[in-house]
Amino acid sequence: MNMIRLIAWREYMENVKTKGFWAGILIFPIILAGMYFLQTTLSNSTPTRYYIFIDQSGEYGEAVETAIERDHQQRILGEFVNYLIENRADADLELTAAGAGSDAAAQLIEGADTDEVAALDQWLDSGGLDFALTMVRPTLREDIPPFEQPSRQFIAAELPQDIDREASPEEIAQALKPYLSGDKKILVDSVPSDLFALILIPANVNEDIMRPGVMPQANDRPAGIQYWARNLTDSRLPEAIISSINSEIRNREYIELGVDNGIVRNVQHTRMRMSQLDPTAAEGEEAVSVADTFRQLAPIGFVYLMFISLMQSVQYLLSNTIEEKSNRIIEVLLASVTAGELMMGKLLGIGLSGLTTIAVWLLSFFLFITLYQSSQTELIGQILEVILGSELIPWFVFYYFAGYALYSGVFLAIGSLCNTLKEAQALMMPMILIQVVPLAMMVFVVRDPDNVIVRAMSWFPLFTPYLMMNRAAADPPLVDVVGTTILLLLSIVFVLWLSGKVFRMGVLRTGQPPKLTELLRLMRQGN
C-alpha cells in the first residue's frame, strides 16, 4: 500500500508540476470564457445598418417606421430586462410561470419571458424606458450603474440625389446596385457609409397581397415588397418590416369588415397560462421551477464533463506508461514493486490529476461568474448551485470513478503494449469511438431516459457510466440501477485483472505491438 501511495504521489506531482498539465486544464475555461466574451462583444458591436426606404404606394411608410422603432424598443427592453436581473435587490431563481414576484421588475421580466409581443406593446403603451425606470427603481439595489441604452441598429438614409424617387422600381434598383454591392458609398451626415439594404414598395404593391384560397398570379417582375440586400443572414430588418406591414394589412381588413381594432388586439393577446407540475414532489411544492428543469437537463453536463476529464486522464496514463516503457524505467520499477502495485499507483496518481482538473474547472467557473456578473453568468451560477446541491453529485462521483477505473484499465493495457504514442493511437481509436456513442445519445437519453434501446445499452459496461449518469435524474428503474452497477463493478474487476496480466507481459516487450492472436497466446502462457 505504501508503494502504491508513493507511486501515485510521484505520478501526481510530476504531472502537476508540468506546464503542459496546466495549459491543458486552463485552456478549457479560457476558451469558454473567451467564447462568451466574444459572443457578447460581437452581438453588441454589430455596426449600424443604413437602409433606403422608398414607398411608391404611399401606404406603408408609417408601418415600416413603426416596425423599425419597435425593433429598437425590443432591444432596449431586452437590455433593460437583463439590467433588471443583474441589479435586482433580491435575486431568486425559483421563478415559476405561475408564481412570479409581484413587483414591477418581476412583472417586466416575466412578461418578457412569456409573450414578447405583448410585453413590447405594454412597454410602448406605458411610456417605454423612462416610465419603466421610475417604476422599477425601488426594487433595484443602491449604487448600481445607470442603464445604458443600446444604439440604434437600423437607420434610414437619404436617397442619393442623382436618383429619382419616382422612377420605375427597376430603374431605382439598377441605380442603387453599385451602392448595395459596396462599390459606392452613400453619404450619411456627410460621412460615406455602406448601404445595407433597399426596401422598395412599388405603387401597385397591393395587387400582390395573398389571400387564402386565391392562387397567386404568375409575374415576370418580383412580387410585392422588394428587399434588396447582399447580406442574407441578418434577417431582422426584413422580418420586422414584413410582420409590421402584415399587421397593417390585417388591421385594414378588420376595419373594412367593421371590427374594432382595439378588440382585435385584445383578443390577440389573450392567452392561457400553464403550470408544469411534478407528481413526485411533496405536496404544495409540485410546481416545476426553472431549477427543476435544469436538474433534469444536468446529466448532459455531467456526461460531457466525465467524457472530457476521462479522455484527458487516460491520455496522461497512456503517455506516462509509454514514457516509462520506452525509457526502460519500467524494469527498475518492476524490480522494486509488483506490476500490480505499479498499475494501481499509476491509476490512483492519474485519477488524482483528473480530479484536480475538475476541481480547477469548477473553481475557475466560480471565479468567472463571481468576477464577471451579468444576467447570463448569474443564471449559470444559480444553475450550478442547483446542480451541486442536487442528488446527482453522488451519482457523478460513482460513475466518474467507475468509468475511470474501467477505461484506464483498458488504456493502461494498450500503453503497456506500445513503445510509441503513434503505435498507441491506432489501438486507442476504437476505445474513443465507443465513448462517442453514449456521448452522441446524451440529449436523446435525457428526453426519453427509459427508452428500451437506452435501457438495453445501459447494460453494456463500457456504456454504463455514461448512460446511467445520463439517466440518473429520471430515477431509472431499480433493476437497471442495481443490475448495471453489479455488472459494471464485475467488469472493472475483470478489466483490471486482465490489464494487469497484459501490463505485466507488455511492459517488458519491445518491438511492434502484438497481434491479437499473439496476445492471447502470450497471456495463456501467463508471463
Binding site: 520506452s326 527498475v332 524490480a335 522494486s336
Partner: protein, 331 residues
C-alpha cells in the same frame, strides 16, 4: 575447446550453505521454440564480486531478469537471500538494467530519493543518502539539475547511484560500464569495490574483460544460454593451454622430450625475411617456461625469439566461447 555441455567447475553449493546469497538450480527459460537460458546452475558467495560474462545475446540479461523475478523461469528454481522469490526480498536488492532510462523531468537528487524510497527507505533518510552519494561520486553540482540536462554517461552514473542508494545486500548491475568514459569507468570500479568492502555482494554483467579481470572474484561465462564456465578468474585463465613461441635456425624437436611439453609445432613466420623458423610449444601448467629456456642453452639451440605471455581473461573468453560468439554476431 571445452565441451560447453559439461561445465568445468564448481557444482552449485547446497542451499544450506549460509554464505551463498544467490543460487540457481537448473534454470531454463524458453520463448516458444527459442531457448534463451538453458539449464544454468550457479551459486554466488556473500561479499563477492561476481561477473556475468558472455557474448551478445548469450542470455545474461534474461538470467538477471529471472533472478529478479521480473520474468519467471520456465523450469528450475532460484534461491535469493534465503528466499525463493526476489519479490520477497526486493528491498534488499539493487538493480541497474541493461537499457538505461530515467524520468527526464525529475531533479537528480529527487530521482535518487524516489528510487530509494521505492526500496523502503524513509523520505528523510533517502534524501540524505541521495545527497551523500552525489557528493561522494562527483555529481554534487548536478544535484539540482533535471535529469534531461545530463549527458548520457552522467545519467548512467545517476542511475547506478539510484540503484544502490538503499545499500542493498545484493547489487545486480547489467552492463554498468557501457557508455562510460575511462575516468567514470574507474569511478564505477571504485564504487563496486567500496560496496564489496562494505560486505555487499555485487553481480555485474559485461562483455569487456578488463573490468571483470580487475574486479571479479568469480565469473560466470555463458554462451547461447548455456553455462560454459563458472569459477575464479585464475581458473578461467587456466583453461587455456600455455604456449611458447620460439624462433630459431636450429632444429627444436629435441625440446619435445622435456616432460610437460605436450606439442611442438612449426608455424608460419609472419616476418618473411627472417632466416629462422617459428615454432609453437604447448606446455603443461606445471612446467616453468624457464626450464625450456635452460634446455635451449643446453641443447645448443640458438634463439632469435622466445615469447611466453600469461593468458588474459580475454584469451580465456575467446577460447571458451569463441565459436559461439562468432555465431551470435550474425544472428
Amino acid at each position: 575447446m571445452v565441451d560447453s555441455a559439461t561445465p568445468l567447475h564448481s557444482q552449485p553449493q547446497s542451499e544450506t550453505e549460509p554464505r551463498s546469497v544467490l543460487s540457481l538450480h537448473n534454470v531454463s527459460k524458453t520463448y516458444g521454440d527459442f531457448t534463451a537460458v538453458d539449464d544454468v546452475s550457479l551459486s554466488i558467495p556473500k561479499g563477492s564480486i561476481y561477473g556475468f560474462l558472455g557474448p551478445n545475446g548469450a542470455g545474461k540479461t534474461t538470467t538477471i531478469r529471472m533472478i529478479l523475478e521480473i520474468i519467471k523461469p520456465s523450469s528450475g528454481n532460484i534461491h535469493i537471500l534465503g528466499h525463493s522469490s526476489a519479490l520477497d526480498v526486493r528491498n534488499r536488492i539493487g538493480y541497474l538494467p541493461e537499457e538505461k532510462g530515467l524520468y527526464k523531468k525529475m531533479k537528480v537528487w529527487a530521482l535518487i530519493q524516489y528510487f530509494a524510497m521505492l526500496k523502503g527507505m524513509n523520505k528523510q533518510a533517502a534524501k540524505q543518502q541521495a545527497w551523500h552519494l552525489l557528493k561522494k561520486y562527483g555529481l554534487k553540482d548536478y544535484a539540482e539539475a533535471k535529469v534531461e540536462s545530463l549527458s548520457k554517461g552522467m545519467g548512467q552514473k545517476v542511475q547506478v547511484l539510484s540503484a544502490v542508494a538503499h545499500e542493498p545486500e545484493l547489487v545486480i548491475l547489467d552492463e554498468p560500464f557501457s557508455g562510460l568514459d575511462p575516468v567514470n569507468q574507474s569511478v564505477l570500479e571504485e564504487l563496486i569495490r567500496d560496496m564489496a568492502n562494505n560486505g555487499q555482494t555485487v553481480i555485474f554483467s559485461t562483455h569487456v574483460m578488463q573490468h571483470a579481470e580487475r574486479l571479479c572474484d568469480h565469473i560466470l561465462l555463458i554462451a547461447k544460454g548455456r553455462k560454459v564456465f563458472d569459477g575464479t578468474v585464475n581458473e578461467a585463465k587456466a583453461t587455456i593451454p600455455r604456449r611458447i613461441i620460439l624462433e630459431s635456425v636450429n632444429d627444436v624437436l629435441p625440446l619435445s622430450t622435456i616432460e610437460g611439453v605436450t606439442e611442438v609445432l612449426a608455424i608460419e613466420n609472419p616476418e618473411a625475411d627472417s632466416a629462422g623458423t617459428r615454432w609453437q610449444l604447448q606446455i603443461s601448467e606445471q612446467l616453468n617456461p624457464q626450464d625450456i629456456l635452460r634446455s635451449c642453452f643446453e641443447k645448443n639451440i640458438s634463439l632469435s625469439r622466445f615469447e611466453f605471455t600469461e593468458p588474459s581473461l580475454h584469451d580465456a573468453f575467446v577460447h571458451l566461447v569463441g565459436e559461439d560468439a562468432r555465431e551470435h554476431a550474425f544472428r
